[in-house]
Amino acid sequence: MAGEPIEVGQYVSIARKALVNEPYLANAAIIGELTKLTLARSGHSYFTLTDSNGSIDCVMFGGNTSFQSQNIEVGNKLVALGGIDVYVKTGNMQFKASRVQPVQNIGELERIRRELIEKWRTDGTIERPRLKAPLIPKRLHIITGGGSAALSDMQRLIEDRWSGFSYTVIPVLVQGVTAPEQISQALAYAGNHADLIIVGRGGGSPEDLWAFNLENVCQAIIDCPVPVVSAVGHESDLLVSDMIADIRASTPSNAIERVVPIKDELLALIAQAQDRLDFAIDNFFVKKNEKISSMILRLSAAPMKGISNATLRNERLKSRLSNAVERQITTRKNRLLTIESILKSTNPEKVLQRGYSMALNENGKPVTSIAGLKQGDTLTVVLKDGKVQTEVKK
């Protein structure tokens, strides 16, 4: 039973408190058709969202620009983010919106997607140079649905490839009205902390994946100062994020395969490099040793070879010299002998020996003619056994 009556205002206040403290009501996104819209002069927007089962009055303080910039008109389907409130003065319940966003049907979404691709194709964003993933990411950040199958697949695969590999997960909503903002926010954070980012989710309907076709999510990827891997859905899904990210992975698992190395393979490569380095240096010294050994051998052999050569040459020279000298001596000896015999045979004394005599003038020269001689000249006549003085008589 009801107790003592309380004042209306107090009652409504209590009701308000109960409602605004209900988390599920306090922080919600509601979707419905915009059936009434007043853009007040104050800048606040008053509107009503309705669907076949219900309706609620909404207020968005300073919301006019938001409605105007998005061209939102009565009749549009709308998502409003915000929470419940009660205006105590009237007891009216209202939804206090912090954001409104028109909901497009898939045809409309597709048109926007195509326009976005066209825009980025024209301005060169799609063809821009891409960042390269580090071979070993040391601060990998994974942005995906918390507790999702995609995340556990990725985590299992990382563990398989490199047990103990460190990385950071930023869980976000990957679908629904707040997904784009969460993903963008996570990307902005990771851009300042990661050296590589994987952003993505597992497979789903085109609408489920649509966040990755949206301009703000894709712009956050483009603006990211570190390489971003887009890993959305299945292999056949091509999202705008795939087209503008630095690396496109066909699935979340594929993203891991592409950026997390297999530790054992790296260790094997390092070990191989080490072996080759050691072998090469060993080989260098083995060769150097061989060269030194052979040089020592040649060096030790060289002097003897030199000496023997010189000796041989000397010997040869010596023999040639002595031969020449001997020959000369012999020749001269022979010549002397000949001269001697000639001299012997022509020696006047020999003639004297045979009984002849020889006359010499006063100067001791042989007199061979009467010319120049006169009466009274003294001649010395040399005979075999002595000399006599004679005088020319006539």
Partner: protein, 61 residues
């Protein structure tokens, strides 16, 4: 120097040493550089290991 650059340089050094032809001084210099790169690479591997962290969205604002 990134891991990839270090491995690339290491490959160059190993190839150069295997080809031979450098003098003793140059060979020792290359060997020393290669050994240092190997150490760097091993260090890089160790640095990639650590903890798995899960952030909350509130923490990343």
């Amino acid at each position: 120097m990134t891991y990839a650059e270090a491995m690339k340089r290491l490959e160059e050094i190993v190839a150069a040493l295997e080809a031979g032809g450098a003098d003793l001084d140059e060979t020792l210099k290359l060997f020393e550089e290669g050994s240092n790169l190997l150490k760097e690479c091993q260090k890089e591997l160790a640095e990639a290991e650590g903890k798995i962290e899960t952030l909350r969205l509130e923490d990343v604002e």
